[in-house]
């Protein structure tokens, strides 16, 4: 039973890989190396290190360590700011009135064009990179939180008002739990976006990290290296997402149960 479940979850991966392998071998396009070559190159780049480092090469540590730290910092920051601001805006139509156009202005400006601003304002590159990440990923969190906050069941809110809940109680006991599923959708979107923005930020900052590696691979036409970076990104995305879903399952247990049919 469990085996069947597990197979049901992963069968698509080998199938895709095999098709991709066949297609790329047939096409012989240098830009599309076969996955086998990509994997071999990845092993060389990142997994041929000493056993003491879990086989990770120095390069792997260089590439992933700072990147992951930036990623989590950026995502966490965006989550805190996005959820807080989203709730504030969702609760106050007045505040929403002031900020709405700014928000939609901000989220339609391509982040790379704003980087000069961040750089000019923040000088140091790590805060500037974090700002880039936060600025790039905060929008789904913000908009989903606003939506979630605005659309709490009216009777839930009325009950809270009747019993004279304080603002904090209203927030923590009613609005946040009710908006949680939507907030989580935003956080999940933002997690993958964070990876993307991390790459962009690293490219723009021109320092180390996976993004920098991707860029140099592109600049030197090392397509296998580039694909290796993409695969790592994809794997990271998958892992982060799986961890996220695990957390979500815990936090939203009530919700899943309340919404179960049969």
């Amino acid at each position: 039973m469990n085996v069947i479940r597990a197979v049901g979850r992963v069968w698509l991966i080998p199938v895709t890989l095999v098709i991709w392998e066949i297609a790329t071998r047939a096409a012989e396009q240098p830009f599309f190396p076969p996955p086998s070559a990509t994997l071999a190159r990845m092993g060389e780049m990142w997994l041929s290190g000493p056993a003491t480092h879990l086989l990770l090469t120095d390069q792997a540590l260089d590439d992933f360590g700072p990147s992951l730290a930036r990623l989590f910092a950026g995502w966490a920051l965006a989550a805190v700011i996005g959820v807080a601001a989203g709730i504030a805006i969702g609760c106050s139509p007045r505040l929403a009135g002031y900020l709405d156009p700014l928000i939609h202005l901000g989220r339609a400006v391509p982040p790379p064009l704003l980087v000069p601003f961040f750089l000019a304002l923040l000088k140091l590159s790590t805060p500037a990179q974090l700002t880039t990440i936060v600025f790039g990923i905060i929008w789904p969190i913000l908009l989903n939180t606003i939506d979630g906050t605005r659309t709490v069941d009216r009777q839930h809110l009325e009950t809270a008002r009747i019993f004279g809940f304080t603002t904090t109680e209203r927030l923590t006991r009613v609005i946040i739990p009710a908006a949680m599923p939507k907030i989580f959708a935003g956080l999940r979107l933002a997690l993958s976006l964070a990876l993307i923005l991390l790459i962009i930020a690293e490219i723009l900052a021109g320092s180390g990290g996976l993004g920098y590696r991707l860029l140099t691979a592109q600049r030197t036409y090392l397509y296998t290296d580039m694909w290796g970076c993409l695969v790592v990104l994809g794997l990271l995305g998958y892992l982060l997402n799986s961890a996220f879903l695990l957390m979500e399952r815990r936090v939203l247990a009530w919700h899943r149960n309340a919404r179960q049919t049969t």
Partner: protein, 258 residues
């Protein structure tokens, strides 16, 4: 304590309340009956400050209701939407008690006691979606009673429970309201219930609602499910209310449209 004067409310151009006046003294339990869709819930929402009526006045303790009054509890008609699905029954009941300045332990005790009173001692740790309709309704009654408001508004609070439970709950509400001197407005469709529970019964007309009759019950203080219901006065009053609800005019003429 509660003075509703000439209350008028329209949803858009659709007039729902057309000059309703009801008075409730401190500690009085007033039942409101009336045809479905006549505007009872609208009346209750106006008193609770949840909607701003188009016209007329609601005073609570002499003060006009311009926001949600203090010390108020409401049992909504749509009870299932007023419980928080992310909290157990006990927590749903305990949450408002923070207002009462009780610590966690005391809140929990009070919640358990209230749940016990409505016969849900076993279900304290259940979530709303693990409960039957009647159980959810009882949780919301327990929440209101545990809160010990000075003004209690109930919108068909016993609609989803069986006859036995209903009687128990009627007696419970009578007891708790009397003991704590709560002023209560109770909307019901059950004519027997209105006469059994109420100090006064207000009958509303078909939409747009006006007060068809405001009848004092006057069956004395103590009530008993069997004995009271067999009293002549009870049977007569019940018939009278029944006739009024069906659209006839009052024979007793007492207090109508004061």
């Amino acid at each position: 304590m509660l003075e509703i004067t000439d209350l008028v409310h329209s949803y858009g151009s659709h007039r729902v309340l057309d000059g309703v006046s009801i008075r409730a003294a401190e500690g009085e339990l007033v039942c409101v009956v009336g045809p479905s869709g006549c505007g009872k819930s609208t009346l209750l929402r106006s008193v609770a400050g949840l909607i701003r009526p188009t016209g007329g006045r609601v005073l609570i303790g002499g003060k006009p209701v311009d926001r949600i009054p203090d010390n108020l509890a409401v049992v909504f008609q749509d009870y299932s939407r007023s419980l928080y699905p992310w909290m157990t029954a006990a927590n749903n009941v305990a949450l408002p008690l923070r207002r009462r300045g009780l610590d966690r332990q005391r809140r929990r005790e009070a919640a358990m006691a209230a749940l016990d009173q409505v016969g849900l001692a076993d279900a304290a740790e259940k979530y709303p979606w693990e409960m039957s309709g009647g159980m959810q309704q009882r949780v919301s009654i327990a929440r209101a009673l545990a809160y010990r408001p000075s003004l209690l508004l109930m919108d068909e609070p016993f609609g989803s429970v069986d006859a036995q439970t209903r009687e128990d709950l009627e007696d419970l509400v009578l007891r708790v309201c009397a003991h704590h001197g709560m002023t209560t407005l109770l909307i019901t469709h059950d004519i027997d219930e209105s006469v059994y529970v109420g100090d006064r019964v207000v009958v509303l007309t078909r939409s747009p609602a006006r007060v068809a009759a405001d009848l004092p019950v006057g069956l004395g203080e103590s009530r008993d499910q069997i004995a009271t219901r067999q009293l002549d006065a009870f049977v007569r009053l019940r018939a009278e209310v029944g006739r009024l609800v069906r659209g006839g005019s009052s024979t007793s003429n007492v207090l109508e449209k004061h």
